[in-house]
């Protein structure tokens, strides 16, 4: 039994590593994806290209604009003279935000009336627009507070010191500087391993079938369990190696802190790989051509990544989709990855996700084994 399994494994590893192009496929796509995604996937909104149109030319309007200019969130590229220019700039996507101060702005402020501040946003990218608007309101808010205090200072100087107020003191935990990279990189580890391992495993059996070498294996005395182990063990090891490589890049290159325990990461990756191998083999045994395997693989990979919480939180999805996410091994693995990387929590918090991955993996592998029996007969 062990002898046959060893032979099968030797054959699989030779097949996996023989072709230089195939060797390249094992690690290079994972690394490239990690580097590109790590840099490109950001939701941060800084230096929003902006334009200002100051029609008031007063001390107050200049002060307000100076506050926008001093903020790291806005990059004032244009100081306009005419209103029509706003339209041209926004249409051409040269700026996403325009601030317009009407004539009479300072006069209204001095009289103690409400002065309007017009903000025009390009809403094409709703997320950027929303966050940029948040920054605008915060600047406007502090400006208004200061004006109110100034006004009070002029009329009742004694009162200024005792005006009550409430301020929010945000304490962002786990990622104090709100860096997108810290959020995206741990998630990428799971997604990249999924992409690589499912695609590789999906080709494993169907390739033999298409090339006709499947029959040759069938005439050998190899048993079904040995065949499956022979087909999965190499990819399991490749998957673990990919996890290690990508995780190392994430920590050393991108500087994302790893606050949890490494053995737990290994356990999580191993459990996650069980499901990935199960899915890959299921595709491979049911497909008749490699093209079918690839198209089906993509059809599984795509929703898994979309419904995992990689870029957008699961809690914002409709309830039906949130329920589906419970059956998605990747969404559990992402909780484990982010828990280990950023939160530094242990098995006490992560056990439900670990258990879910183990159950899904076991179910998938069991189902694949019974299916394979039929296709072998």
């Amino acid at each position: 039994m062990l002898g046959r399994l060893r032979q099968m494994l030797v054959k699989e590893f030779i097949q996996l590593l023989r072709d230089p192009k195939a060797r390249f496929v094992l690690f290079a796509p994972a690394l490239i994806q990690m580097m590109v995604f790590g840099y490109a996937a950001t939701f941060e909104v800084r230096h929003v290209p902006s334009a200002v149109l100051d029609l008031d030319h007063s001390q107050e309007s200049r002060e307000l604009i100076a506050r926008f200019a001093a903020s790291p969130y806005f990059d004032i590229r244009y100081r306009l003279q005419r209103r029509e220019e706003i339209r041209t700039l926004i249409d051409a996507s040269d700026v996403y935000l325009a601030i317009e101060i009407h004539p009479g702005f300072a006069e209204l402020l001095r009289k103690g009336r409400t002065a309007p501040l017009q903000v025009i946003l390009d809403g094409t990218n709703s997320n950027t627009a929303l966050i940029a608007y948040g920054y605008v309101s915060r600047i406007a808010e502090t400006f208004a507070q200061d004006q109110l205090r100034d006004r009070l200072n002029r009329t009742d100087p004694g009162l200024v010191a005792v005006v009550p107020g409430v301020v929010l003191e945000p304490r962002p935990w786990f990622n104090a500087d709100l860096l997108s990279r810290w959020f995206i990189v741990p998630g990428l580890i799971g997604s990249i391993v999924l992409l690589t391992v499912v695609q590789l495993t999906a080709f494993a059996v169907v390739r033999e079938r298409e090339l006709g070498t499947f029959e040759q294996i069938m005439v050998t005395p190899i048993k079904r369990s040995e065949f499956i182990l022979g087909k999965t063990v190499p990819f399991f090891l490749v998957g673990l190696a990919d996890t290690a490589v990508v995780a190392t890049v994430g920590t050393l290159w991108f500087g994302v802190p790893f606050r949890g325990s490494a053995p737990l990461l290994l356990l999580g990756a191993a459990l996650f790989l069980l499901s990935m191998l199960g899915i890959g083999l299921l595709i491979s045994t049911s497909a008749t051509t490699q093209q079918q395997a690839m198209v089906t693989g993509f059809f599984v990979v795509m929703p898994s990544i979309t419904l995992s919480g990689l870029g957008t939180p699961v809690s914002s999805m409709p309830p039906a989709l949130q329920w589906i996410c419970e059956f998605n091994p990747l969404s559990h693995f992402l909780v484990v990855l982010r828990g280990l990387y950023l939160k530094g929590v242990g098995l006490g918090v992560l056990w439900p996700n670990m258990l879910a991955m183990a159950l899904i993996g076991a179910a998938l592998l069991a189902f694949t084994t019974t299916r394979l029996r039929k296709s072998l007969d």
Binding site: A140, P303, M317
Partner: protein, 377 residues
């Protein structure tokens, strides 16, 4: 180039596509599934954020502040806790993303005329959600603060106080800031990248692997005829997919389509030529379906997802990555798509993007045809 030979190759390819009904069904479903997935599953509109409340005072004043959070559709108070460790547990386990802590001397210090801080503990492992939480909660708290100030000033006998500033925001193109309207047009580019490159990447590689290339080489067909003949069926599939995506987005998800259909389909035909030629080139180079599929993934789907401005804003990326994005055809297509759907602009405003797409199509197609050799090594 002879029409007859071209027709024969195209016919052979169509037969091959139609015969593999399983892949065909998946391809037909792909635009629908992807549009539904992104329409429902990927939302950047963050609402109903689960929050904990730790009200250490429990006074009328503190309850009034909490009312602001209850009334907001952005927050959902899932639990009122009575000690700090409960808050920590909630955030660690992910049961809440945000916890508001009101100090025990809240109303007393307000009565003294102090500025009181309320702490917001935020799970910032997802920086984007954290940013939005800070923005929304800051808004709730400052409105409350303003209310408190006005009441206080009125008690001092200073009445009819106008707030100094009112921000009047106008959002153009995507008035309700729905992330769906921002994301769905870009999904067309994703679907085309997948259909175009994935499928074609396999067509030539398959002939090499199965040995049918020798039969093709022995025929009088020229490389150009072979390229065109093989790509025509996939061109048809791709255009049909565009129509399906656009129809579903506008009719089902009510994304506005403000530009001309001719602009949309013209750009789609250009982009489709680019990805088809790219897929063909990859398959000429790779010669193995496994390698071709992995390379196609890294070369087309990934850039279309990441470096096109589909979700992640290009201007927030590091300069090097932004430079790379200029070589990504999907970048130009994505700009056109968002322009046609949301901004309603035409070829005139988008001419640079159209020219870039045409340039890529010509360049890649030439390279692909030239690198294809009718020779058995």
């Amino acid at each position: 180039m002879r029409w007859k030979r071209l027709r024969a190759i195209a016919r052979k390819e169509i037969i091959q596509v139609v015969r593999d009904w399983r892949s065909l069904v998946i391809i037909a479903l792909m635009p629908i599934v992807m549009t539904l997935l992104y329409g429902y599953g990927v939302t950047l509109d963050i609402k109903h954020i689960p929050m904990y409340v730790f009200d250490r005072e429990g006074s009328q004043r503190s309850q009034a502040l909490l009312k602001g959070f209850q009334a907001s559709e952005y927050f959902r108070i899932v639990k009122v806790v009575h000690d700090y460790p409960d808050v920590v547990r909630g955030i660690n386990s992910g049961r809440c993303k945000f916890a508001l802590i009101i100090p025990h001397d809240f109303s007393k210090r307000l009565a003294e005329g102090a500025t009181v801080g309320v702490q917001a503990l935020i799970d910032a492992s997802d920086d984007n959600t954290a940013n939005i939480i800070i923005g929304y909660s800051d808004g709730v708290v400052s409105r409350f603060s303003e209310q408190v100030q006005i009441e206080w000033l009125e008690r001092q006998g200073i009445t009819n106080i106008d707030p100094p500033l009112s921000v009047d925001a106008r959002t153009w193109f995507n008035e309700d800031l729905e992330s769906r309207a921002f994301i769905l047009p870009g999904v067309i580019a994703l679907v085309m990248a997948v259909i175009g490159t994935f499928l074609t990447a396999l067509t030539i590689a398959r002939e090499w692997e199965r040995g049918t290339m020798e039969q093709l080489v022995s025929t009088p067909v020229t490389p150009l005829e072979l390229v065109l003949g093989k790509l025509i069926p996939y061109f048809g599939i791709g255009m049909a997919a565009t129509a399906m995506c656009a129809g579903l987005s506008t009719l089902w998800f009510e994304v506005p389509l403000r530009g001309h259909l001719t602009t949309l389909f013209g750009a789609s035909a250009l982009f489709l030529s680019v990805v088809l030629a790219l897929g063909f080139w990859i398959s000429v180079l790779a010669r193995s379906q496994l390698v071709a599929s992995q390379v196609a993934m890294v070369a087309t789907f990934m850039p279309a997802f990441l470096l096109s401005g589909f979700i992640f804003p290009l201007d927030q990326m590091p300069a090097q990555i932004r430079f790379v994005s200029y070589f990504v055809p999907a970048r130009y297509y994505d700009t056109i798509l968002k322009g046609v759907f949301l901004k309603g602009v035409g070829v005139g405003e988008l001419q640079f993007n159209f020219l870039a797409l045409a340039g890529f199509a010509f360049l890649i197609a030439s390279v692909a045809v030239l690198s294809f050799r009718k020779r058995i090594d």
